[in-house]
């Protein structure tokens, strides 16, 4: 038997819709459960594609200023900068990913912790990233498929987010450097 909601006689259609929406929200799963089942990520564009980093690897987003270029450095190195007393390398994410092009000149540097013993890195970014929840199940599925530094997470609605594994990305760079 399906229970029909009961409304006072004087409620308007608009009020009913509002009350139904509220009821639907109450029926949703508790927030804590939702947080347990998603990976929060920082999503941002690289050219035409959408990329994301696990939010817990992001330390800061700073303006792309006061970067000292390093002549003779590899092309993916934009320069060096100071951040909280450390000297960090600022790198071009697009270049690290093999030159995906870009739509607007990056104005932001994301300071990230790739899990290399506390050493931080800065990656350029076209726009300040926005936090997005990625369902854990989809993330795990994408990671299982991926062999490289990028796991392609396909969200409902076929929106694709490329989830970056910074450690793998840096390891790949290191091995390329060694091979060279």
């Amino acid at each position: 038997m399906k229970l029909e909601p009961r409304f006072p006689d004087h409620t308007t259609q608009e009020d009913r819709e509002l009350l139904e929406r509220r009821a639907a929200r109450v029926r949703e799963k508790p927030r804590a459960t939702e947080e347990e089942s998603v990976l929060w990520a920082a999503e941002f564009p690289v050219g035409e594609d959408s990329y994301a980093l696990p939010l817990d690897t992001l330390r800061a987003a700073v303006p792309l200023k006061m970067v000292t270029p390093v002549p003779l450095s590899p092309p993916h190195v934009i320069g060096i900068l100071r951040f909280q007393g450390q000297i960090l390398t600022a790198m071009s994410l697009s270049s690290l990913l093999g030159g995906r092009g870009w739509r607007e000149d990056p104005a932001v540097l994301l300071v990230v912790d790739p899990g290399l013993g506390g050493r931080l890195l800065a990656l350029d970014c076209e726009r300040i990233p926005k936090p997005v929840p990625l369902p854990h199940a989809l993330v795990e599925e994408a990671r299982a498929r991926s062999t490289g530094a990028v796991a392609e997470v396909t969200l409902p609605g076929l929106h694709q987010v490329n989830l970056l594994d910074l450690r793998r990305l840096m390891d790949r760079r290191e091995s390329e450097k060694r091979d060279a």
């Binding site: 190195v77 320069g79 100071r82 909280q84 000297i87």
Partner: protein, 733 residues
């Protein structure tokens, strides 16, 4: 049992006593060679401090033993001759026991027995008192040695009352009136000092760095206010905005003053922290004199340790890590390197061998050299040991050069000693030294000449030591060059320049020196012949001299050079980076890299050249990635004006320019370039963030050959367009 409050003070007391004991050791070793009143007084002060401080903490046994040491040494005060060897031996040995006892007390472990030390001191004191003052130096301490071997001190001496000892000490003390008075002042000094953990100081250093960044942000805010003011002025509504502008101007002035004050605070904090975090290298080197002396006594050798550059100040943590390797190298020099006096004499050498420890800091690199004038590394012994220990296959061993054989001493388990002694033969040594130096991100090299000696050179980064640096400008880059490499600076004059076929030379002090363009060496531009009035720096490094052309000499600075992050640390061109007063980073170029130029000259010849003009660092990096992958050598410029300046001196196969740049946009740059006859045929590609027909048409009408939107610049698109426009141009030609 110690009072719990006193117990808390013990770790700090151990550190304090360690420093005092090191000072006492140094004095004893020197006083054994020759009398020096000021040294003697300091020695007495040190012993007195040990006694007093131990008593304060309730360590009565240690206070008593320090008192005995005083008793032994004070009677020799007025003799003006070197300390007898036996007395020095006894005091050093007792001092070791004293420190061991203190450490054991702190660690709550088994305490060493102090009775033998008391006996030794008693015995040697009587022996020394028995010797006539004039003969004291020549005394070989036989009496002391005999007593040390077992003869108990006379019973009545054992029972000497404390009051009698005090009285005897008092007899000696009038001569020490001055030191004692100073000592009484010392507790006040100690009360005014703290012992701080390293990580707390390091964290404070980081905080200062953060404060410097805040100071930078203040400057940024001031510029933003300045921009707001100029925008308001451009609006032309001066009367209506007068109040707001006055307010903003006040804020701007305040931000400027706050920024300067913050800068002063940062500079002063940095200076203070530098003083806290660094120590002279001699604090580690001086105690080595004791090691040399003791080893010589054991082995019958004669050696003198000479220290050069002990005043160089270094990070305390680095110094602490260097202590072990240095002790090992110096002990090895005595044990393995130096010959016995008779052997040396037979070889025409001085009976006394020399071990030299030389310290030198160049930029943020520390060079430590430990050399001896002994036998040199014995290649046949090294080969034999390597064979016996199966470290290297026999055939391979025979084919090894002397330099390769020298490297075997750094292998794990390697030793040429057949028997294990107190000093060597365990095969635990040079490999550990190498590992310890590598842990400091340094390396060790060895050079040896048979019969003449061995030299170990340790090279390691010295992060906290500051160095004088000459800051120069090259294009839009500011770079630092370590001052020790700069011989002189002068302005170029065409009359002093000689144009050879492949290089430019400077006639300087009757010598011809090759001129190098810093911009070209750093691949920022093509080599340029210095124009009249352009600054030239005469550099000397590793025996080579060059004249380095720069665009401007900004000035000399005392900078703390820090290592580059790992992603760019492999670049041979740089020693590290330093922070200038305004907070920006400046790269420090290696002088030896600058002077070793021949290989790099050839590197850029024969490739096609592209000039990328973009005010975005990322865009320049991405264009460079694509073009270098396509086989181009790429120079970059961050503005149209800079590009035109580079085009004045250099030729390029293609120019790739952004459209939206301040001051001069890509259209204007193209128009300017086309006005120059020599640039008429140069392919130009414009890149825009917007993909509009209007921009395409405007680009074509200004003389550009191609147009790409930034999103088109995906992998392959840029290089394809470059090749297409070059082909079109060549087709036209």
């Amino acid at each position: 049992m110690l009072d719990p409050m006193m117990e808390q003070l013990l770790p700090g007391f151990v550190d304090e006593c360690k420093e005092i004991a090191e000072r006492i050791t140094e004095h004893l070793i020197e006083l054994e060679k020759a009398h020096e009143q000021s040294r003697f007084d300091d020695l007495a002060r040190g012993l007195h401090t040990l006694k007093g401080s131990a008593a304060t903490l309730g360590l009565s046994e240690l206070s008593e033993l320090a008192h005995r040491m005083e008793d032994a040494v004070l009677p020799t005060r007025g003799r003006s001759v070197a300390l007898p060897g036996a007395l020095t031996d006894a005091l050093l040995k007792t001092l070791d026991t004293w420190m061991a006892h203190l450490r054991a007390t702190t660690a709550k472990s088994a305490l060493p027995d102090l009775r033998p030390s008391h006996k030794l001191l008693e015995a040697v004191r009587h022996a020394v008192q028995a010797v006539e003052p004039g003969k004291a130096a020549a005394n070989n301490g036989k009496a002391a040695a005999e007593k040390e071997k077992g003869k108990a001190a006379p019973e009545k001496e054992k029972k000497t009352s404390k009051r009698e000892r005090e009285a005897r000490a008092a007899q000696a003390r009038p001569a020490l009136a001055e030191p004692v008075a100073e000592e009484e002042a010392a507790p006040g000094e100690e009360a005014g000092s703290w012992r701080v953990r390293t990580r707390e100081v390091v964290s404070l250093l980081h905080e200062v760095e953060r404060l410097r960044e805040v100071r930078l942000r203040l400057e940024e805010r001031r510029r933003e206010v300045e921009r707001a003011l100029s925008q308001l002025a451009r609006l032309g509504i001066l009367a209506q905005t007068a109040e707001v502008r006055a307010l903003l101007m006040g804020v701007q002035r305040a931000l400027s003053a706050d920024g300067e004050e913050a800068g002063d605070i940062v500079a002063s904090m940095e200076d203070e922290l530098k003083a806290i975090c660094t120590l002279p290298v001699r604090t580690v080197l001086e105690p080595l004199r004791r090691s040399v002396r003791d080893l010589c006594k054991q082995s019958g050798k004669l050696a003198r340790l000479s220290i050069v550059g002990g005043e160089v100040s270094l990070d305390r943590r680095v110094l602490e890590s260097l202590r072990g390797p240095l002790v090992h190298l110096v002990r090895n020099a005595v044990d393995h390197g130096l010959e016995l006096p008779d052997v040396r004499e037979g070889r025409g050498k001085h009976r006394e061998g020399i071990i030299v420890v030389r310290v030198e800091q160049q930029g943020n690199m520390l060079f430590l050299e430990v050399s001896d004038d002994g036998n040199g590394l014995d290649l046949s012994l090294i080969k034999q040991a390597a064979r016996d220990l199966s470290i290297v296959p026999g055939a391979e061993l025979d084919a090894m050069t002397p330099a390769q054989l020298h490297q075997l001493i750094f292998r794990n388990g390697f030793s040429t000693r057949r028997t294990v002694t107190e000093v060597s033969g365990r095969g635990v040594g040079m490999d550990v030294v190498r590992i310890q130096i590598q842990a400091l991100q340094g390396h060790i090299e060895v050079q040896s000449t048979p019969g003449q000696g061995t030299r170990f050179t340790l090279t390691l980064p010295a992060e906290l030591g500051s160095s004088p640096v000459l800051v120069v400008r090259c294009g839009e880059h500011e770079l630092g060059i370590p001052m020790p490499a700069v011989e002189t600076s002068l302005l170029a004059r065409s009359t002093e320049l000689r144009m050879a076929r492949t290089r430019v030379q400077l006639s300087h002090r009757e010598q011809l020196i090759t001129v190098q363009d810093l911009g070209a060496l750093l691949a920022l531009r093509q080599p340029e012949v210095p124009h009249d009035g352009q600054p030239l720096l005469v550099l000397q490094s590793q025996g080579r001299r060059i004249a380095l052309a720069v665009d401007e000499v900004v000035g000399d600075r005392e900078l703390v050079i820090r290592p580059l992050p790992p992603e760019v640390r492999d670049l041979a061109a740089y020693q590290g980076a330093a922070t200038l007063a305004r907070g920006e980073l400046v790269l420090i170029v290696r002088p030896d890299w600058l002077s070793g130029f021949e290989k790099r000259d050839a590197a850029l010849t024969g490739t096609r050249r592209a000039l990328v003009v973009d005010d975005s660092l990322t865009a320049r990096a991405l264009h460079r990635t694509a073009l270098e992958a396509g086989g181009y050598s790429v120079h970059t410029a961050s503005s149209g004006r800079q590009a035109l300046e580079q085009l004045r001196h250099s030729s390029y196969d293609v120019l790739v320019s952004d459209i939206g740049m301040d001051e001069m946009d890509g259209f204007e740059l193209t128009l300017e370039a086309r006005r120059r006859h020599e640039l008429e045929a140069m392919p130009i590609i414009l890149v825009s963030a917007r993909d509009s027909d209007a921009d395409r048409q405007r680009g074509a009408s200004s003389g550009a050959d191609g147009f790409l939107s930034k999103k088109d610049c995906a992998s392959g698109r840029l290089i394809a367009e470059v090749q297409a426009v070059i082909a079109r141009r060549q087709g036209v030609a």
